[in-house]
């Protein structure tokens, strides 16, 4: 068992502020009663990479926005952020708009000095432009993955050239997935759509962002498709989500992300910290799995995170 004083001191060192230490002092007492004893807060004993977020925080420039986000990430013990899509958002952006938003992310990544990695945002309706943007930002630039949102459902064939190119570049593909009982957007993918795409590309690595929101359905939809990893961000901190994902997929196929800045880091971290799963599973979910997934492209690009 880690003492409260120990946790407080470590966290205070991490965040570098007395006020932070006072606030943090609330949390170290919170130990899961069920699985094993450990602090349930932004625990410095875990390495945490957040695989899903946006520049939707206050700030006039991408640099200011990422700096603001990193300040909060520091308070929560998050070491690295993955960031994609600029601002303002558009459901079906033109190639020019996509390029402009990727430029914003490139600027943020440069400003973050190694604390943030970018995924290139693409609209698969524009195949040639997407391939060119993939080359610009990933092959020739610092980005390390692909983000696809709601322009087109991801089981459509227009995604195939993008996935093939991403696979050549060793870049994972993170696809937004939701299943809303209130109705999806016209181009919004479900987890089942992603399973169809992933089955066509067994050598590619896919991340099911949000695990469809309706995670009990989403986990089942991707269960048999082993090149898809469930990413837990962007839904309410429902108890039991991570437990089911680990039970059905294995901890190696579950990833932490928050969907910052629309979601808090806190509510999404809590899904893992509060889950009745082993410490080893939490280590994989918080950072081990994304580090393993990105290792090939890091090696190819000579990135030493």
């Amino acid at each position: 068992m880690q003492s409260a004083n120990h946790a407080l001191t470590r966290r205070a060192m991490l965040t570098g502020g007395a006020k932070a230490a006072v606030a943090a002092s609330l949390v170290p007492r919170c130990r899961p009663a069920i699985a094993e004893e450990e602090p349930a807060s932004g625990n410095p004993d875990y390495v945490i990479w957040d695989v899903h977020g946006h520049l939707s925080s206050p700030g006039d420039t991408p640099g200011q926005r990422i700096a603001n986000l990193l300040r909060y990430a520091d308070r929560m013990g998050i070491e690295r952020l993955i960031v994609f899509m600029g601002y303002p958002w558009a459901y079906d952006p033109s190639p020019e708009e996509v390029r402009r938003q990727n430029d914003q992310v490139l600027e943020a990544v440069e400003h973050a000095r190694g604390r943030a990695f970018g995924f290139v945002y693409l609209n698969p309706k524009h195949t040639e432009a997407s391939l060119a943007e993939l080359d610009r930002c990933v092959r020739d630039g610092p980005m390390v993955g692909v983000k696809l949102w709601v322009a087109a459902r991801c089981h459509e064939e227009c995604l195939d050239p993008i996935v093939r190119r991403a696979t050549e570049l060793k870049a994972p593909v993170l696809q937004h997935t939701w299943h809303k009982i209130t109705g999806n957007l016209p181009g919004e993918s479900t987890a089942a759509d992603l399973a169809i795409l992933a089955a066509r590309h067994p050598a590619a690595s896919f991340i099911a962002a949000h695990t469809a929101g309706d995670w009990q359905r989403g986990i089942r939809a991707i269960r048999a498709t082993t090149n898809v990893t469930a990413e837990i961000c962007g839904s309410d901190p429902a108890a039991g989500m991570v437990e089911m994902a680990v039970r059905e997929l294995g901890a190696e196929r579950v990833m932490y992300g928050s969907d910052y800045a629309g979601r808090s880091f806190a509510s999404q971290l809590a899904k893992v910290h509060g889950a009745d799963v082993s410490k080893d599973a939490k280590r994989l979910i918080f950072a081990g799995n994304i580090q393993r997934m990105l290792a090939p492209i890091f090696a190819a690009k000579g990135i030493r995170p």
Partner: protein, 269 residues
Amino acid sequence: MIVDVNVHLSRWPFRRLPCDELSRLAEKLHVCGVTEAWAGSFDGVFHKDLGGANARLADDCRRCRPGLLRPFGSVNPAFPDWREDLRRCHEDHRMPGIRLCPAYHGYRLDNPAFAELLTLAERRGLIVQLAARLEDPRVQHPLMRVPDVDVGPLPELLVARPRLRLVLLGALPILRGDAITRLLRAGEVYFEISMLEGVGGVANLLARVPVDRLLFGSHFPLFVLESALLKLQESELPPAQVRAITRENARRLRRARPAADSGIRHAEA
């Protein structure tokens, strides 16, 4: 020491929750530093026999660690003889307040019976908790889709009941525009943080809500208890604000004793 104003006992009907057994729930609250939890029950949301649900809730709270759980019974003003449920909550079970779920109980806030219920609760000095949302409407069971509560009629109702103490549960995601301001101006209304989202959410909210109207709420065990705790870590808050949100406001609210005009036997439990 934390006072959590939004905890539930009994079973969520759509799936089992890791801490939906009383012993595990109590243990988790304890190890997380929650020394007092205001507890409603899921039975009180979904059952028609609210008298039975409230009696079980009161009994469970009594059986638990002394002082840990404070029962907030359910009253449905759209049901026959709801005034007797209210009386039992107050007089028989000595509850400090009641918890209302209009969307699940099938009435709108412009229903005259709801206005009467607020009047009677005010006279009895009962805290009224109103659940604006229990679950994201996008992920509800397809056979039971429940909309968020339209809180539009509330300001007028509050103005007419100046001694009413109202705690809105799960309301922050659905209060748009100046709705929070209008509620704050109308009466003694409080908000809790279980469904507050956005990076630095608590600090951001404090730009719109006075700290003395903000309460710690977790929506546990449907939500992970750590979520609300970590929100307080994420925002950089002075210790006095943390104390106010986590315990002082709730204690002051529970101990407040509005002038009773009904001859009710007690106002404290």
